[in-house]
Amino acid sequence: MDSGSFPSSNKTQSRYPLQEQNLQRRNSRENLDRFIPNRSAMDFDFAHYMVMEGGRVEKDNPATTSPSKEAYRKQLAETLNLNRTRILAFKNKPPTSVESNFPESAPSVHQPKPTKPRRHIPQSSERTLDAPELVDDYYLNLLDWGSSNVLAIALGNTVYLWDASDGSTSELVTVDEENGPVTSVSWAPDGRHIAVGLNNSEVQLWDSGANRQLRTLRGGHRSRVGSMDWNNHILTTGGMDGLIINNDVRIRSHIVETYRGHHQEVCGLKWSASGQQLASGGNDNLLHIWDRSMASSNSPTQWLHRLEEHTAAVKALAWCPFQGNLLASGGGGGDQCIKFWNTHTGACLNSVNTGSQVCSLLWNKNERELLSSHGFTQNQLTLWKYPSMVKITELTGHTSRVLFMAQSPDGCTVASAAADETLRFWNVFGAPEAAKPAPKANPEPFSSLARIR
């Protein structure tokens, strides 16, 4: 009917008749009042889409594809302002990451994974606790944060427990004057049992839940026990006598292995996450890597590697959480270096002079970062990017050397105890509450980071 009543639908004449025809159509069929009842309420894009889509559908049916329909469509399009509009966009696309603000890289920036936004690192400690009578002795290890979120610190002859979840403090034990002071504390992996090393060469095992002493390990060392680390049920102790002893805490004759390699005090002891390798550092400037599988109780165990590059006592030791055979070690006042080792080959991968004695080292569990604590002159904590070893930030506040550091179980907070007799808490490895929404907003890119543990 449409094209029948207007046989002359050629282009020159099509304008007026079509207008009429459109009116007819509206009145007879669709009963539309106007094309644009309210411009503001219309989505032109949607309309445009429908027009285009409608046109395509009609094409499929040759009977309805008439010149008048075509012209009607054009008319509609024109009324809808489409031909008079220009759609523009910036050539430069908004960045998906900080570096991508370049036109050349604009098409490709959609592919690479976005960089994680720069984390805000508070420059001051989140909390400061008093730590009176903290022994200012570089060779001791008086701070540990257990898996049940309880921090243990030895102050003089007493071991205190500070529960990080509610901030409550309790006293675990005060040893007799003649046996003290406490020279090392170390939580067992269960977060319930804790080993307390003493100046009199004994080690006490405590059940922190029941506040009860379970046993005393004696007969191994001839002098104070300044360093300890757990490997499941094996408690490894390092003494001033240069001995390293593996104690099986379950059995009566607890000494299962003795590692002889240091000829001065052992001040750093750390098992690798796999439990296969033990790193030990001593006042003899030596760093040893011991292999668990090479140990035997009847013959003296040979070290896997003896690393002699440090020029001062090696106390700060930290196994890399994301690379099994990577160890970071820090030297004392005469050395001031952080060194990185491949513990399979014994190769020194990198050495960085920090300008100050390195008292302790901690890896960030979520990022490739390393935190070191120092003494004179700044008494600072330095956060390093690994492997570039670019300083990310320095945290100051302690007024004397920062002897010990411990990391919360969630890996975010670091506690540092210094010779200024304060215990400070730093949110240096990212706030746990800030870490959560990020994966929600961008689950893909960050999930890989969240899985590193």
């Binding site: 894009d45 949607f46 220009r86 759609i87 523009l88 910036f90 908004p94 990451s97 959609h110």
Partner: protein, 207 residues
């Protein structure tokens, strides 16, 4: 006294363009924040329109939006801007997921004759505030953007506008069969801005 109040409520083309382009800046920031296009940590809170508004601290995004609002302001003053669309796309597939559509009607008489209109700042702010509140509450009904997204801004201008050096012509980046929600409008008496968000219709069988 009387003359002072009158002077205060007079709005010029230039002033109107400034208000509208500033509105786009804040609206874009708010959308990017509320829709999680950029991580929460990259925004800081400021007070604007009597509301806490969030502004990105990401230098790249900041520059992009600053350049955008500067250009929009120019077009608004010339009365040549018809519409601004903020498009949110999937980063992986570039599929358009949301279109935030701001249509602009310009009082041509003001542009041609250079006259001014009367409307109080307060009233305009109140209208903008309502839109901003709606943008912030849009997350309650918009489908979750559970993949990394990118955004782009399209400007619909009159045909006689010369394409600036830094701009290119674009396709409209439409969504097929979208759901649409119209938000509040605001009107400076020179520029009237209508806001509408259209988004991908996930529940196709439901209607």
């Amino acid at each position: 006294m009387a003359s002072r109040t009158i002077a205060k409520d007079i709005i010029t083309l230039r002033g109107s363009a400034a208000i509208v382009s500033e509105f786009f800046g804040y609206a874009a920031n708010s959308i990017l924040y509320n829709r999680g296009v950029y991580p929460e940590e990259s925004f800081v809170k400021v007070k604007k329109y009597g509301l806490p508004m969030l502004l990105t601290q990401d230098e790249g995004v900041k520059t992009f939006i600053a350049n955008l609002t500067a250009q929009l302001s120019e077009w608004l003053e010339a009365g040549k801007l018809q519409r601004v669309v903020l498009v949110i796309m999937s980063k992986a597939t570039s599929e358009v997921l949301e279109r935030w559509n701001f249509s602009i009607e310009t009082d041509k008489e003001v542009v041609e004759k250079g006259i001014s209109r009367e409307k109080s700042d307060k009233e305009i702010m109140r209208e903008i505030q309502a839109i901003m509140r709606q943008i912030a509450s849009s997350i309650t009904y918009l489908p979750c953007l559970d993949e990394p997204c990118i955004f782009d801004v399209l400007a619909y201008t009159d045909k006689d506008v010369a394409v600036p050096f830094t701009w290119i012509e674009s396709d409209p980046k439409l969504i097929a069969n979208p759901q649409m929600v119209k938000l509040h409008s605001f009107d400076t008496k020179i520029h009237k801005v209508d806001t509408l968000v259209s988004y991908k219709n996930d529940e196709e069988g439901e209607e």
